[in-house]
Symmetry: C2
Subunit: 516 residues, 2 copies
Amino acid sequence: MFCVRVCSGLVGFRTATCVRTLHSLSGITVAQVSLSLKTKSLSFPLSVMSLKKNLFFFVCQGTRDYNPKQMAIREKVFNTIISCFKRHGAETIDTPVFELKETLTGKYGEDSKLIYDLKDQGGELLSLRYDLTVPFARYLAMNKITNIKRYHIAKVYRRDNPAMTRGRYREFYQCDFDIAGQYDAMIPDAECLKIVHEILSELDLGDFRIKVNDRRILDGMFAVCGVPDDKFRTICSTVDKLDKMPWEDVKKEMVNEKGLSEEAADQIGEYVSMQGGMDLAERLLQDHKMSQSKQACAGLSDIKLLFSFLQLFQVTDKVVFDLSLARGLDYYTGIIYEAVLTQAGVAAVSNEAQNGANAEESVSVGSVAGGGRYDGLVGMFDPKGRKVPCVGVSIGIERIFSIMEQKAEVMSEKVRTTEVQVMVASAQKNLLEERLRLVTELWNAGIKAEVMYKKNPKLLSQLQHCEESGIPLVAILGEQELKDGVVKLRVVATREEIDIARTDLTSEIRRRTSEA
Amino acid sequence: MFCVRVCSGLVGFRTATCVRTLHSLSGITVAQVSLSLKTKSLSFPLSVMSLKKNLFFFVCQGTRDYNPKQMAIREKVFNTIISCFKRHGAETIDTPVFELKETLTGKYGEDSKLIYDLKDQGGELLSLRYDLTVPFARYLAMNKITNIKRYHIAKVYRRDNPAMTRGRYREFYQCDFDIAGQYDAMIPDAECLKIVHEILSELDLGDFRIKVNDRRILDGMFAVCGVPDDKFRTICSTVDKLDKMPWEDVKKEMVNEKGLSEEAADQIGEYVSMQGGMDLAERLLQDHKMSQSKQACAGLSDIKLLFSFLQLFQVTDKVVFDLSLARGLDYYTGIIYEAVLTQAGVAAVSNEAQNGANAEESVSVGSVAGGGRYDGLVGMFDPKGRKVPCVGVSIGIERIFSIMEQKAEVMSEKVRTTEVQVMVASAQKNLLEERLRLVTELWNAGIKAEVMYKKNPKLLSQLQHCEESGIPLVAILGEQELKDGVVKLRVVATREEIDIARTDLTSEIRRRTSEA
């Protein structure tokens, strides 16, 4: 029997012996399940257990289906982001979901272990893309493009530990905007921050901050604090943990694990506690130690220049020069930035999590955008090493989806999953043909319309469908209406009904459903 | 050196020893290369050879990047298709790009060998999705959904022999529309055909035909022609080749390879040459042989009913009842259909191919949409085998992209890749700040605007950029304009220039660039 063969792809709760597999559970409502699983403690709240009476089908651990409601929210978020990218004159490209394994090799440092490889089934060795930046650099080099402003919205893949309540998945969208080309300093860099500011403001996720720093300032700081050259990257990785760990622990890691002197660590500690604006850059340019590093001074001057452009772009209210910002990836060479949501946006999340079962996983949504300048990456793909300077930003869209979904839930917002304007219905029997004829007229006139796929549906069930899916109008046909050449137009919300001449129907529907 | 490591991912033309690898070439212009490669004869036209002076980067065989121009065309096609799906009231869902290997097992018959598997890196065994229908069925069963009208647009993966000029790739988009639910016969089935008709008409790809048949008619026909029960599926696969092979060859395969009697084959041959409309279904219901099969009669009655709905939907002009239509996939249980472009649409393709180098590959674009009824698939995923009847259609979007791209090329159509309305420019030096201030005003007012990332760009290069990217307006700032509180608005096409009060600028730009 077929069923037997398929069942090996299922695991029932009652028969599940391996606790770990439960993480990949994705039952009737993926969101619910993931919200109520305490993924770290490996215990399962009763609410989940009782849900599972039957066998289950899996989707892969750390991935999820999007249901129509989630898709409606996703479409709204994408529209906001794409509008912004287009407003700034960006083109878009697409690249394959897999790249040759070699293309990804040596670009991500330690994170390379998170790359998904395809099975060797003959032919090339392939890997799923890890981000959109490396494929972009490969694309530029391959096509010898030296300047472009492009956005790319697509899924990327990481074999990471999923934390779905915080919007961390193994398959997730990235929304990247990058400017490639040799331009005058800090103008494209400032535009990237302007874009982050516009998108986060429009999405209305609560207050946010955009932290900026510069890799040259970090390197200069490490140099003047006495960090040996070969420890810059590893100490930088440790500094990057400051948003998750207190300074004491970061210092411990520097001294105990990475072998830095206590004195050097303390000096770093002083600098990385500094936050400010253009004034801080100014002050550090005068700092007796920092000013000894040419690199740091170049970075600090650029921060000043950046802030002057940000003032013109009217976005300095949210931007902070923060010396503790380090960012993980190796390929950054200049300015770096990261946007974080502050209290307001996060409140909705933990609220919602408490409605589920456990709030532990939902403390903070954290970073929702990040990026920086990477002037060396394209050159890695060019046979002659020709460089193309690039700066870009990636919007952490999954976290934003999580917040928007949870917001919609908390506020019991009615999310429409279709745009249907009118339902063609009848109260009497044997009018299927007349309903099909009318819905054809409407479709052909570009009206979004539905009809029930039944010969003789009850009027009540037709009206109920409208209520459920938020369809605002019903066009009702009966013997009398047909005789009179009219259609009874019913407004679902008010139950008001009026007869409209059949010839005026489409314009009347359009008038009543135009968004304005 | 880094370069050395990366170079293993490159193959130079001069050093390439393996002819096969050249198929995966995807150089400066993927389209060009793929158009001029004779993939079957394994020879390389000079035009390609001379293109390759340097080392090359690969994308995987049978995949491609989309450049901004291709993306603009793609967006246009998607918008047409999505509008149609929405007009018919469809919701949308999304599923992960990989499914558990088990989910795909046993669904595709012989084609299973074309499934891409992921490497076993610990955890679940995963495969890239092969189509959107099986994930849809898995989604319905997993979420116990018994009725939904949904569309899903996403990429699917097949380790097939690519034929890129005919739009056959290893990574390609599918645009699926399906109606799941227990409804009265043939109403949703007819709506699927209405949708194909609307989409192909709107995309303006030239004339087309939609062939319909029914698996029950085929099976009934096989039975009354004396095909043994256990040979139905394999004989059906042979019939499916009739669009690529003449009847003589198909018959040979039936008799010589599949061991059918010559007499049975001849009887089949008579039936599969039949084409018509409702009248043909009527006639076959009276046919002394065909009428002996209950199954065939059920199918024929439904074809009659289908045509009566198609008449109401006003689409019978393109629909043909064609007994030779078989379709490959195992899971169809009722009505099946396939849309093919007839001459007009295909002409553009071979034209363009001849501009490349070899037309051999580009004879016919063939099928651009297909689908049918599959009432058993969801039940395969339900632990209790509960069935959810489904009918759907898949639009073969890559072939449509190919045609649209080649059409744009042949007609030297100017395809805009951005929607920028205005370029903020200046003729004088030292006005960077003023330009940034003005472009900020425009962005904040929702105008799509660009500014050059240079301190002192030449006016000519600013105007040239507008010409190249089709930006219709230039807002020019100078000392005098600043003093007067105006902006000089230049119409790129006519070179007309007028001074506009700065306060009126956004409304003036909107007025001049509104599409109407």
